[in-house]
């Protein structure tokens, strides 16, 4: 626990509250005296006062109990012992009073302690009940939303007038994900205030401090000055005042060593104030809650991953069926024609060549799937060697243009650019980028490839004149299984760019979509340079 930070942190002491039980000890003593005088005329000097001492100790504690014992002794001596109205200090009387004081003191002590134990047991029971309820409730669901709702509702109203959960997102923002109020009509206000006045992690406010430091923040008494200090503007202050927080207890949510956010307990004007004794219960609850939230998050992420994989399997199956249809259909067409009558050798050769092309396409798709599996299991190993990227790209493009004369590609690679690269893998990246660019190019518009040095890196850009990539897709095109539009089919399984990015990353490089101002899309690969040493001989040998 931490002594409260910030403007809200003052421990309130209540001197009047401590003296009250002592004053109240007078009442049972007075009652005992009245009963003694009314019921008995002689003797029974002390009997009536033991219950009075016990009562004072039960309600007020050991101290007020002893005070009642002393008061009783004085009253008996003054009022009941002859001579009345004077202190009797005869040895016999002193022994009587002393004996009473010793016995009554013991009664006060025992009764006070018994009451303490009973109170502690009751509180412990309540805590156990709450914790047991919490673990049962939170273990009951893996659904993220359900878990948040259960966590936030659990402490209300027993431990808080309202309770909120704020979680840290990947961008360092603190987002309110759940809120519960003893008065449900107030709940929208709890959400509204968080969305209108969003919190960041570096703020000097309770939730941010708790998440940042990982330590519980206790603010037993919030004053209007604290609200003014927390408010960003007049309207914010108005909402804070309307909510009427009086006491705050904010516990960080930590699971697997990671800070997820904070669970905030608040009490309004009518409620008790939080004290140090509340901290451990709140922390136990938060511990259970953090675990449940973490589990629900993991489960949700797992389900999203499984769904993405299922979608991908459908697409992959679909994608494989196209060349399978062509291979089978091509062979069937050739057979059908052969059975109908004599067929020229040239037509047979053309038919077989087409079947061969389609079976290669099938092989490439299967290779892609295998690459994906290798990447996922970290088994894709590079065999890098020093190479001139400029000559390499120029050669690869030239070979592609020879294979597909109808798909024009231009290369600008004026000077050698040395990198340490795996030529087979880089060829694969280039083929993916070129295939992608060609796919989206309008007929006849050449794809432009450039290799240069820039910013201390080797830079390869592949630029097409197609429709471009909308801003919201630019990051996502490199995601696994990603396709801009599944039903608007441009071919491919949505893993070419993902595999390319991973291969480039294994080379220590990056790949990004850049946005040419005059239309189209440009995919830019940056690789570390192998060194400043130029290698004109290699360039000459290859070029």
């Amino acid at each position: 626990m931490v002594v409260p930070e910030g403007p809200g942190g003052r421990v309130l002491s209540v001197p009047g509250g401590r003296l009250l039980p002592y004053g109240a000890a007078v009442a049972p003593v007075a009652l005992a005296l009245a009963l003694r005088l009314a019921l008995v005329s002689q003797g029974y000097l002390f009997v009536f006062f033991y219950p009075a001492v016990a009562a004072a100790a039960w309600w007020g504690g050991v101290g007020p109990g002893i005070a009642a014992a002393v008061l009783s002794a004085v009253v008996v001596n003054l009022v009941l012992m002859p001579p009345v109205s004077a202190l009797n200090l005869a040895p016999e009387q002193l022994v009587q009073v002393g004996t009473f004081l010793a016995a009554a003191g013991a009664v006060a002590w025992l009764t006070g302690r018994a009451r303490q134990a009973a109170t502690a047991a009751e509180a412990g029971q309540r805590r156990l009940t709450l914790i047991a309820e919490a673990s049962a409730l939170l273990a009951g669901s893996l659904d993220y939303e359900t878990t948040l709702q259960r966590v936030v509702r659990l402490p209300v109203p027993r431990l808080a007038d309202w309770c909120t959960i704020d979680l840290l997102d990947d961008d360092g923002r603190v987002l309110r994900v759940a809120a519960a109020h003893a008065d449900p009509a107030e709940e929208p206000r709890l959400h509204e205030i968080a969305s209108r006045y969003p919190m960041t992690l570096d703020e000097p406010r309770g939730v941010a401090i708790a998440v940042r430091t990982g330590r519980t923040q206790l603010q037993p008494a919030l004053s209007d000055a604290d609200l003014r200090a927390a408010a960003r503007d007049a309207e914010h202050l108005a909402i804070l005042r309307a909510l009427g927080a009086r006491s705050h207890l904010i516990v960080p949510l930590v699971a697997r060593g990671r800070r997820l956010g904070a669970l905030s307990f608040t009490r309004g004007p009518s409620g008790r104030r939080y004290a140090a004794a509340d901290v451990s219960l709140a922390e136990s609850l938060a511990g259970h809650a953090a675990l449940a939230i973490d589990n629900a998050r993991l489960y949700r992420a797992e389900r999203v991953a499984v769904r993405a994989r299922d979608d991908f399997l459908l697409i992959a199956a679909h994608e494989l069926k196209t060349p399978i249809t062509s291979v089978g259909g091509g062979a069937q067409l050739l057979l059908r024609r052969l059975r109908r009558g004599p067929l020229g050798l040239d037509r047979i050769e053309a038919g077989l060549a087409e079947i061969d092309v389609q079976s290669q396409r099938l092989t490439r798709l299967v290779e892609q799937l295998l690459d994906l599996t290798r990447l996922e299991s970290g088994r894709l190993a590079l065999e890098p060697r020093e190479m001139d990227l400029a000559a390499f790209v120029a050669d690869a493009v030239a070979a592609r243009v020879e294979r597909h004369p109808d798909q024009p590609v231009t290369v600008t690679a004026p000077e050698p650019v040395l990198v340490a690269g795996d030529d087979l893998r880089l060829e694969q990246v280039l083929a993916n980028l070129l295939g992608n660019a060609v796919k989206f190019s309008p007929p006849g518009a050449p794809v432009e490839v450039a290799v240069r040095r820039g910013g201390g890196q080797a830079v390869v850009s592949v630029r097409d004149r197609g429709p471009g990539i909308p801003a919201e897709h630019r990051e996502r095109v490199f995601e696994r299984f990603y396709q801009v539009d599944h039903n608007r089919h441009y071919g491919g399984m949505g893993i070419g760019l993902y595999v390319s990015r991973e291969i480039v990353a294994l080379h220590g490089g990056t790949i990004a979509v850049e946005d040419p101002t005059d239309g189209g899309a440009s995919l830019v690969v940056r690789l570390p340079l192998a060194g400043a040493r130029p290698a004109p001989t290699e360039r000459a040998a290859r070029g």
Binding site: A317, K321, P323, T325, Q332, E354, V357, N487, H489
Partner: protein, 121 residues
């Protein structure tokens, strides 16, 4: 059936389009090929087909969009046979097709379904 029109093959995969067109031409049908829905609408504007073999996932204008646009502008649409992988029956019913060919299909199936819905060549 003097001028029944061609069988229109709408398919973005060139190899599949060539095979389907080849087998139908061997059977004696006139065949036209379009690489996507938009091209198909252009061809239909010139000449009414007797049957449309329709791939679903295509660039520019996919099978769903084509079927909607085609029905909207044609009083007496030609029968449509969907050619697709996966849940072909569902996709066929989504676009109100008369029949479907599930990829990978055998070319005998192509001949049979065209004969059934478009008649003899």
């Amino acid at each position: 059936v003097a001028d029944a029109g061609p069988v229109l093959v709408v398919e973005d995969d060139e190899a599949i389009a060539a095979i389907v067109a080849g087998v139908l031409e061997d059977e004696g049908y006139a065949v036209a090929v379009a690489r996507n829905g938009a091209e198909a609408l252009d061809r239909i504007a010139v000449r009414r087909p007797r049957l449309i073999l329709l791939d679903m996932r295509m660039p520019v204008m996919n099978g769903w969009e084509f079927a909607g646009a085609y029905r909207a502008r044609t009083a007496a649409p030609a029968p449509i046979v969907v050619m697709t992988a996966g849940d072909a029956a569902r996709k066929a019913s989504e676009v109100g097709a008369d029949a479907y060919l599930r990829k990978p299909f055998a070319i005998d199936q192509v001949v049979a379904v065209v004969a059934r819905h478009a008649g003899a060549p």
